[in-house]
């Protein structure tokens, strides 16, 4: 499996600002660079939050449509905070979509909205990564704030500084929250154990 490294510090401002300026001016190639750089990270964050790949694709596409529209209409002021702003848009769009899904009152397994675990039987590669599945299930059991910082940090690949800018909180608060979240995760994993049956709970993923 190809590992997708991320640069938590993000590209230097002097690299990103010219690309942003060109994209705002209608340079399609510059916009494609931005999409290629961030689409996987946005998808991973959304997928972890909602637990559904089809919904994650829809929301990810909606996020970039929103970003393109805001860049066109001058809704973004370049201050070297594009990444926090991008993922803030992603979180807002995801919350809107989850609320919309719940209002529709479709017979959806609530667990699928909070991050259901993918049924290992659906794994096309036939490999069961029990530890990662158990870890994913444990993350889904965290409280909202703890889960958010874990997903922003490890799925979206944001630095603590970027998360602080995004949430408007001091870095020390985020470090403490991250520390607490990791302790809770370790406790959950020690309690539940890395068993696929316990993590999946017999709930198939709700894919379209």
């Amino acid at each position: 499996m190809e590992v997708m490294p991320i640069e938590r510090s993000g590209p230097p401002p002097d690299e990103l600002s010219p690309i942003l300026a060109r994209a705002c001016a209608g340079d399609e190639s510059a916009w494609r660079i931005l999409v290629e750089r961030y689409w996987r990270r946005v998808y991973a964050l959304v997928r972890s939050r909602c637990g559904r790949s089809d919904l994650a694709e829809e929301v990810t596409q909606s996020v970039f449509v929103t970003v393109a529209t805001k860049l066109r209409d001058g809704g973004y002021q370049e201050e070297g905070r594009f990444e926090p702003w991008l993922f803030l848009v992603a979180m807002n769009r995801l919350r809107d979509e989850i609320r919309r899904q719940r209002r529709q009152a479709t017979p959806t397994d609530p667990a699928s909205l909070s991050g259901a675990v993918q049924n290992p039987a659906d794994d096309p590669a036939g490999e069961h990564q029990d530890e990662l599945d158990a870890l994913r299930a444990a993350v889904a059991q965290l409280g909202e704030q703890d889960r958010e910082i874990i997903e922003l940090r490890h799925h979206a690949g944001l630095s603590f500084k970027q998360i602080a800018a995004m949430q408007g909180e001091p870095i020390g608060t985020l470090l403490a929250r991250h520390h607490r979240a990791l302790k809770k995760l370790r406790s959950l994993m020690e309690t539940d154990g890395p068993t696929p049956a316990a993590t999946a709970g017999g709930r198939p993923e709700k894919d379209a």
């Binding site: 060109r22 705002c24 001016a25 689409w39 860049l71 002021q77 490890h154 520390h179 302790k183």
Partner: protein, 166 residues
């Protein structure tokens, strides 16, 4: 995975292992992203981005080149145009108001005495008399008066009775 100095310094060793597992989970999530999604995103946003190409109404090229995001929105440009138009109309009306109030009195006010002078001049010219003519008329009248007086002077030699003096 590229790490920077952005890390939680308070984590004990056990939790650092868990953090590395979470990083691996995140990498798995990113690698599971469907390959065609990027193309679908570009296709969905192409129209929005190309609407910004040169030729569209925009601010100066310098601003678009430096940041571009400081471009004034279309609604703000329209509002500014309307405001300038209103200001121009008000200015034109204000500048023309003194001329409107003054009406035809654009020159120096005409003195009443000047009109009498004009009337006298026109009266004299219309009546056929001028100053020289009036003077000659006076001379003629004086001559007539003199001759009249002379005609009425009695000749002492003339009497009404024969020989009888008065």
């Amino acid at each position: 995975m590229t790490r920077t100095d952005d890390h939680n310094p308070e984590l004990p060793c056990g939790l650092r292992d868990l953090e590395r597992s979470l990083d691996a989970l995140g990498e798995r999530s990113r690698s599971d992203a469907p390959e065609g999604l990027a193309e679908r995103i570009c296709a969905a946003t192409s129209g929005t981005i190309t609407a910004l190409r040169p030729g569209e109404l925009r601010l100066s090229g310098t601003e678009a080149e430096t940041h571009g995001v400081f471009r004034i929105g279309r609604h703000w440009r329209l509002a500014a145009s309307v405001a300038l138009l209103v200001i121009a109309v008000v200015a034109v009306i204000t500048l023309q108001r003194p001329a409107i109030n003054n009406g035809g009195d654009t020159g120096a006010p005409v003195a009443l005495s000047d009109e009498w002078v004009d009337f006298e001049v026109s009266f004299v010219s219309d009546s056929g008399f001028d100053s020289d003519a009036l003077n000659s008329l006076d001379s003629e009248l004086d001559a007539l008066e003199l001759s009249f007086n002379e005609a009425w002077t009695l000749d002492e030699s003339l009497t009404f009775n024969d020989g009888e003096s008065l």
